[in-house]
Symmetry: C2
Subunit: 239 residues, 2 copies
Amino acid sequence: MRTHQLVLHWIEDQLSAGNLAVGGRLPAERALAEQLKVSRTSVREAIRILEAMGAVRSGVGSGPDAGTVVISDPTAALGSALRLHVATQHLPVADIVQTRVLLESWAAAHARRGAPELEEAAALLGAMDAPEDIPVGEFLALDVRFHLALANAAGNAVVSAMMGSLRESIQGYAAELTSHLPDWGTTASRLRTEHHAILAAVRSGDGARAAELVAAHIEGFYKEAGLGRDNPAQPGRGD
Amino acid sequence: MRTHQLVLHWIEDQLSAGNLAVGGRLPAERALAEQLKVSRTSVREAIRILEAMGAVRSGVGSGPDAGTVVISDPTAALGSALRLHVATQHLPVADIVQTRVLLESWAAAHARRGAPELEEAAALLGAMDAPEDIPVGEFLALDVRFHLALANAAGNAVVSAMMGSLRESIQGYAAELTSHLPDWGTTASRLRTEHHAILAAVRSGDGARAAELVAAHIEGFYKEAGLGRDNPAQPGRGD
DNA sequence: TAGGTCATATGGTCCAACCACATCAACTAC
DNA sequence: GTAGTTGATGTGGTTGGACCATATGACCTA
């Protein structure tokens, strides 16, 4: 067993045993190294891995933001991992989109009608509607938050994390796609209308219709933008 | 920007640009450190992160297995990340199971009838049937492979990777659950029957029925074993 | 020709030192 | 007494160098 894995297991055991919880602090690197009888280098390698997985956050200096504290950001971990494997071209973008459709339509179908996240989603739609000449980047940022809020309304943390990571992993790709659109204004207008229809379906408790609308919404965007035009990925069935 | 992130970005850029592909080799740690004008420590931290994400594999010595070569194992990355966050108790096991049901029933519904993976799945069922007193551990290992083969038959790499990682993240949990079963022999027999029914439905092209059977299969197992008995997670709807 | 031996290159580990940063306590000037 | 300055302390961030374990291949030697 390599040394940094020993440290990794020790920390994971502390988490599982409850000796370490979100918000808690790891011992200082030097102290932990001495405690586990390993070098500080190995401790740091383990911490870096945990950091990449969204399990800890490190800060220099003193005070509340300093030291290595336990957090829990599964989306970050999944997102960077997916992005990396998309870069190796072993995860086709079309498969990412297809999976996103699958997860998001499920979430729309199972969103709880009274979920507070739906209020947030409505507010986001309002922000997207108000100014007519909202910048593209800002529109897309609000769009991301709307879709995440919708997913969160289903109350499944794993689905939410996976959805966010899928979105994150192809964020750069999606941004480039928008530049290929023939007429952004028309597209944005259509997206707005579809958003309202989706939210209305969810709020009326018509899960099946909400799922259909979400699937059509996502697939329509990527189809219009030309998914796979200059990418080895083949368009998926998406259903 | 921290030094190891610089290395990380450099490598990711090489992957995206196609200068580095699966099977290719990274420069030696010392050479890469000199090339990027950073310390070997920082290079190693970056490589460790990539290793944890299933993007590279490192080996000592000389020859084909030595050095740092690019691989692509998204399942490893997602699996360890999920396992870690399950340990922090921010991802309820019930949500994991629910998500697995969601993905796996989709895969069953969309499996291609002529997919070669179905032949593999059939062979695995044969192995599970043959000896009457197959050890529990071996049965479960075959079970894992059967479900993965089924998922692969749908042809979506992302769904396959996520399914595998979900399974992996709660492997320890599932293993413990089996020990809570009142009568393993009866359960195993039922699982066998259900497996055959699932595969038959897929092969006959009845995707909807296959999806239903898979959902009932997974939910039934966890329900029988007592999901959430001594866990903060609440049983999910699973549909 | 067969066998052993050494050079070489790889990653794995450790150590010691230094830097950058943020807080807090002690001190000083007013 | 208060306000500002200064230094001590503890944190992660980075570096260079040293040494080890391993695996291969070239080179000797019997």
